[in-house]
């Protein structure tokens, strides 16, 4: 189930909220656990078993790690076993086909049969969460969870199940059994959810349409159209992902949880280093804590630092999808980050701010060009080549211009919304006496327009209906 669906908004959410709040406190985790599984099973009922398996395995590993706390060697084996099982699951479901295909290209005589498995939703997120649990328990960074229901509630927590943020166990350990739901958080959660919904439905989906229109036949649309197209895609991916994170955090608040911020206006960054501190923060944190620092981070000399960074960025790329373009995308950022560390950052410090912004945005946007074209290197080269040819295929065709003008007001609003400007204005407005009236009106308006937009997707007037 996705948040921006009628089934979630009008069936799942109201029912779950009402039952949750009439349930006595001590049974709320148990109810939430069931509700989570229902949420997860909606799309692929079979994979509920996988989630239960994951829950039991990591719960048991936690118990054993705790038990052998004084025997480091044994405890370590359990951590390793937990990591292997989690990565095994991820590898099996997400990367089998990819590995098979790649091997067949490199070693064609092997002729490996390639399995095409459906990807269990959210597996990249929850395997990372459960790994963080075992590791944190082992490191003594986090208390152990003895209640399997509470643990299951954490693993399957529906707000962040599908698209993150990746919540480390230690960040919610206390809340799992001691959270206090209240009106303040609930209201805040509702507002955050509505902001996220609007980001997803009103901006990301529309920018997606614009990108689709401009991308098709890009060589006829002209270079400027391709640039607008890739900007639209950059906006789509940001508003889609950050909208989802906002909805997740908002829903968390409604049930008394606090999740850390996942996006912090990444497009206002003045360097790529800064961008990655603002983009998908929970993923960056995860890789830093569980890969980069254990590898030695930057404490083992320049060469090792560079190697470590490349490993981390290879993996970050690969995590985004089982396709070589994602790896390329990760390495692309790895190399830029290394270059920034070596000298670019120093140059940027001296440069005027707008140069730093343009530098960062160009690299980010070009990166999305690599990111988009999975399994289609020809398409990627074609598109990126065309973009950089500048006026090669004419500036913009008549029909592309019509499309761009149709979306121009929204494009401008989206670009402004990617900066903290609206938020700053809102902050100022919170001092006003009747801000609650504004909030309420905004909530209703956002809901109505979003539902209207969702309804329109199913509205298919049939001209010739008899056949």
């Amino acid at each position: 189930m996705v948040f921006s669906s009628l089934a979630f908004l009008f069936m799942y959410l109201p029912v779950v909220l009402i039952i949750y709040y009439v349930t006595p406190k001590k049974f709320r985790n148990a109810f939430l656990f069931i509700a989570n599984l229902f949420f997860y099973g909606w799309g692929e009922p079979v994979f509920v078993l996988l989630m239960l398996f994951s829950t039991v395995v990591d719960y048991t590993h936690g118990i054993f790690i705790e038990k052998y706390r004084n025997n480091k060697r044994v405890a370590k084996r359990f951590v390793i076993s937990s990591v292997i099982i989690n990565l095994g699951l991820l590898g099996f479901f997400k990367y089998m086909g990819f590995i098979g295909n790649t091997l067949n290209v490199v070693l064609p005589f092997l002729n490996i049969p390639v399995l095409k498995l459906p990807l269990p939703i959210g597996i990249s997120f929850y395997t990372f969460q459960t790994m963080s649990y075992s590791i944190d328990v082992y490191r003594g960074d986090s208390p152990i969870q003895k209640n399997i229901i509470s643990f299951g509630t954490y693993v399957s927590l529906f707000p962040q199940l599908i698209a993150g943020p990746i919540v480390r166990y230690k960040d919610v350990a206390y809340q799992l059994n001691n959270r206090r739901e209240n009106f303040d958080d609930f209201t805040h959660g509702v507002k955050l959810f509505c902001v996220g919904l609007a980001k997803k439905v009103l901006i990301a989906n529309q920018m997606g349409l614009l990108w689709d229109t401009l991308r098709e036949g890009y060589d006829e649309n002209g270079a400027l159209a391709s640039w607008v197209g890739i900007i639209a895609y950059s906006l789509q991916i940001y508003f889609d992902f950050s909208g989802y994170s906002d909805m997740a955090r908002g829903l968390g608040n409604m049930f008394g949880f606090y999740f850390l911020k996942n996006f912090d206006y990444p497009y206002i960054s003045k360097s790529i280093t800064e961008f990655w501190r603002r983009w998908h923060i929970s993923l960056g944190t995860w890789f830093r804590e569980y890969v980069y620092i254990p590898l030695g981070g930057n404490r083992k000399g320049k060469v090792r630092t560079i190697i470590n960074l490349m490993i981390v960025w290879f993996l970050t790329g690969l995590w985004h999808g089982a396709s070589w373009n994602f790896v390329l995308w990760g390495l692309y950022f790895g190399i830029i980050l290394i270059l920034e560390k070596l000298f670019i950052l120093k140059l940027l410090e001296k440069a005027p701010a707008f140069i730093s912004h343009i530098y960062s945005l160009l690299i980010i946007i070009f990166g999305w060009g690599i990111f988009y074209f999975s399994d289609d290197c020809g398409g990627m080269n074609g598109f990126l080549g065309f973009m950089s040819s500048l006026f090669g295929g004419g500036l913009i065709s008549e029909s592309a211009l019509h499309t761009v003008i149709s979306y121009l007001p929204l494009l401008i609003v989206s670009i402004i919304a990617a900066t903290p400007l609206f938020f700053k204005v809102y902050k100022k407005a919170t001092n006003l006496k009747y801000v609650w009236l504004l909030d309420t009106a905004a909530t209703v308006i956002v809901l109505i327009i979003c539902i209207a937009s969702l309804c329109n997707q199913s509205y298919n007037p049939f001209l010739y209906f008899r056949f």
């Binding site: 009008f10 007001p409 539902i451 969702l454 008899r466």
Partner: protein
């Protein structure tokens, strides 16, 4: 005002939260309580019902998908929401988001056909067909509403290339097809008369009569006088542009039926769908004027094959009319020149056209298409 009365429990700041819950709950309750529609007259399609449960369908994910389809098709106040979406898009500058512009004077105008289209292929096929056919082949194409009424288009709109298309057709149909090109005349006539409906992409009866006069002239026939018809007008009509665009604030309009003063439109009409055949005795299906789909008053709308026999016609000739829906209000006029018309719609008629010509022993062949269809159709197969 709620503030200050019970500061601890209910502060005005909490209102968004309450309203949110109330909103979702109200929608859920309406889902349950409101009567479900089986058929959507606006969309002219049957809506999804609640899926039947089985373990297989649950495991396959079909059951939950079925529920989502049901929810999507049965959203409370759905038409209202769809309308809101259209006007919201209009407000943010995206006129025509659903494929129809809201033009000046409230005219709804379909966007033009995609520039990369099948015109070349379709014209090639008709040309080839005519080269191998001994019976005279004529072709008539109705220009698009957006081209004719370009003054009504919104500021930012796509270009209607009718002029280029007509020129292409003229130059490429070959000598064996008599192309009745009226694009310039039609444009002039549109300044005097309402040639297209406001809420539909089709031409009006006045438009079709103008087309009829020109077809007669080009094919050497004598057109029936305008004064021979009683012009009846029926209110409360809305067409497909209205439903597609969801610009629901557009006023409804009148639909005209031009009925022969003498015969009242009496003719033997046979509608054939595969092996099924139904017979009627009038060119106009008056009962359809009471439904939501009033345009089907002309020959009952889209059918695979319709045969018209008019004993009142001025000749005993037989016409094969290969057409799309633009021919529906034109064919009644032609039935006064041909005692028999065999009308086929290639979107649904999948049998051999050549065999049909032999069987029916036709005297003339006429293609009638709207420019959009001749550009986009994938069904023009004339074996």
């Amino acid at each position: 005002m709620m503030n200050n009365r019970n500061k601890k429990m209910l502060k005005t700041e909490y209102l968004p939260g309450f309203v949110f819950i109330l909103f979702l709950a109200a929608m859920s309750i309406m889902y349950v309580l409101l009567p479900k529609q089986e058929y959507s007259p606006l969309e002219k399609r049957y809506l999804s019902g609640f899926p039947e449960f089985s373990f297989e369908s649950l495991l396959e994910g079909e059951y939950t998908q079925g529920i989502e389809d049901f929810l999507a098709d049965n959203t409370p106040l759905r038409a209202g929401f769809v309308g809101i979406n259209s006007y919201y898009n209009l407000a943010i500058g995206n006129n025509g988001a659903n494929g129809v512009y809201l033009g000046k004077n409230g005219m709804l105008i379909e966007k033009p056909a995609d520039e990369n289209n099948n015109l070349e292929r379709n014209i090639g096929r008709i040309k080839e067909f005519a080269e191998n056919e001994s019976i005279p082949v004529n072709m008539f194409v109705v220009p698009s509403k957006g081209f004719i009424y370009h003054d009504n288009l919104p500021l930012n709109s796509l270009k209607y290339k009718d002029k280029e298309y007509f020129e292409y057709i003229e130059n490429n149909l070959g000598d064996n097809v008599n192309f009745i090109n009226i694009i310039d005349k039609f444009d002039l006539q549109a300044k005097k008369e309402k040639m297209f409906y406001n809420t539909d992409h089709h031409w009006t009866s006045a438009g079709a009569y103008f087309g009829y006069e020109n077809i007669c002239e080009a094919m050497g026939l004598k057109a029936k006088e305008k004064t021979d018809f009683n012009i009846e007008s029926y209110t409360d009509f809305y067409g497909t542009s209205y439903s597609t665009s969801a610009y629901y604030l557009t006023p409804r309009e009148s639909i005209e039926v031009w009925r022969d003063k003498n015969t009242g439109g009496d003719a033997a009409v046979e509608i054939i769908e595969g092996s099924k055949s139904d017979k009627y005795d009038n060119l106009f299906f008056d009962e359809n004027l009471n439904t939501d789909d009033k345009y089907t008053v002309y020959l009952d709308g889209n059918h695979s094959m319709v045969k018209i026999h008019n004993s009142d016609a001025s000749s005993n000739k037989k016409l094969l009319l290969i057409k799309d829906s633009f021919a529906h209000c034109l064919a009644p006029f032609l039935s006064y020149n041909y005692s028999d018309i065999v009308m086929i719609d290639l979107r649904y008629y999948k049998l051999s056209v050549k065999d049909l010509i032999k069987e029916e022993n036709c005297d003339d062949i006429l293609f009638v298409y709207g420019i959009d269809n001749i550009c986009t159709s994938t069904d023009i197969i004339l074996n």
